[in-house]
Symmetry: C2
């Protein structure tokens, strides 16, 4: 009848991420522009098709993105692209991986306030090495009881983590920007979802079916996070669930 743990997503919940991927797509477009007529959505669709085909081997993250961009650039130019331009794609990946972490507005205060009342964990997806670097640089690492970097955020992953934490789904709330990865699987496990949409969301993450929409809250930003979690807990107490 109380929340026993709060999970936070990392990318685009605590810190900016998708912006850099969007910028990288623009750089990619500039790199291939001298070779092909493809622009904008038509080009992004070609890239997305390659990324989707490769995701089963590359997983998520900047390195896989770069390899898919290189493959796309070679395919759409019929291998006419110069090696120096391919090198620019490798350098794009290096610069993304070296980019300083930019916390989203109000996040530090929001996480600190929540962490003062409930144990908080970070559950983030993607490239282990890059995610660890971001956690380290974020200055938030000490607030988190546990930091879990996983390759896929689905029902099986959350079930395994909750078992390791010794927490029932019903006593867990997850805060994140992605309905598919952060919200839907936790609600499926009987937990609570606090959705803070980001202005950009990767197409892959947008769609999700909710097992029980009544356990979803949506916020514009993290400012009201503490109050919403407090309200969820008070309703749990009131209804005896």
């Amino acid at each position: 009848m109380a929340l026993r743990m709060i999970g936070f997503d990392g990318d685009d919940t605590l810190w900016r991420s998708e912006d850099y991927f969007a910028q990288a797509q623009q750089t990619f477009e500039a790199i291939v522009a001298p070779y092909v007529e493809l622009r904008g959505d038509a080009l992004h669709e070609r890239l997305y098709a390659v990324e989707k085909r490769n995701i089963a081997v590359f997983g998520y993250g900047v390195k896989g993105m770069a390899l898919s961009m290189i493959e796309t650039a070679i395919e759409i130019t019929d291998a006419r692209i110069a090696a120096a331009d391919i090198h620019r794609i490798v350098q794009l990946a290096q610069s993304m991986l070296r980019h300083p972490v930019e916390l989203l507005p109000g996040i530090r205060e929001a996480v600190e306030r929540v962490a003062a009342r409930w144990p908080v964990v970070l559950i983030t997806k993607g490239d282990l090495f890059h995610q660890e670097a971001k956690v380290r640089e974020s200055g938030l690492a000490d607030l988190f009881h546990r930091i879990e970097i996983v390759s896929e955020k689905d029902v099986a992953t959350y079930a395994r983590l909750l078992e390791e934490f010794g927490i029932d789904g019903a006593d867990f709330a997850m805060v994140g920007n992605a309905m598919r990865s952060d919200i839907a699987p936790v609600i499926e496990l009987g937990g609570h979802g606090v959705h803070i949409p980001y202005h950009l969301t990767w197409v892959h993450e947008r769609e999700a079916q909710l097992a029980d929409p009544s356990r979803l809250r949506t916020l514009e930003n993290a400012n009201a996070l503490y109050d919403v979690l407090d309200e969820i807990e008070r309703r749990m107490t009131a209804t005896g669930t």
Copy 2:
């Protein structure tokens, strides 16, 4: 006064890995051979220099290797390499990531026998997505109490994991092929190392200073693993440590 947990490394301890990296280097040599005079060790040194420079951003694993190979190929050919040949490097990465897992001889029996007596954990380094795929395909996942995929296997990482497991260093033994990653940090923490050298070891992993060489055992293969762990435990009991 007893071993309370046994850790296993993954790559080149449970299953083949470095062989594929060695084969990939040969393929890389064949791809760049039409462009440059560099061969063998001289070429590998150039590649290793780029890998070393990139490791702080790319971390370990096949995707970082491929991006470093692409960068090396462009550098040593003064950007003369054809896009189609760069594509062969991307395809090399894809084929490595798709390669079926090959367990080393006797490993299944050895891990099963150890797991029947002590809780066993898998502590493996590298690309999260690829390591998870290998664990899944190995058929060994169910034997392990916990599976930890980390970006660096140093004293700090082992200290954090042992704290999470609730195990003292002195009650822990780690089995692996890499002195630097598997043995030295665990011995530093007061634990025991069982070194099973592999016929190939990445140059980066060969050197290590041991805090206490008396807590190291070296085996030719996994056949005697159970007996060696049993002997370590009997000595702990005998000496009251």
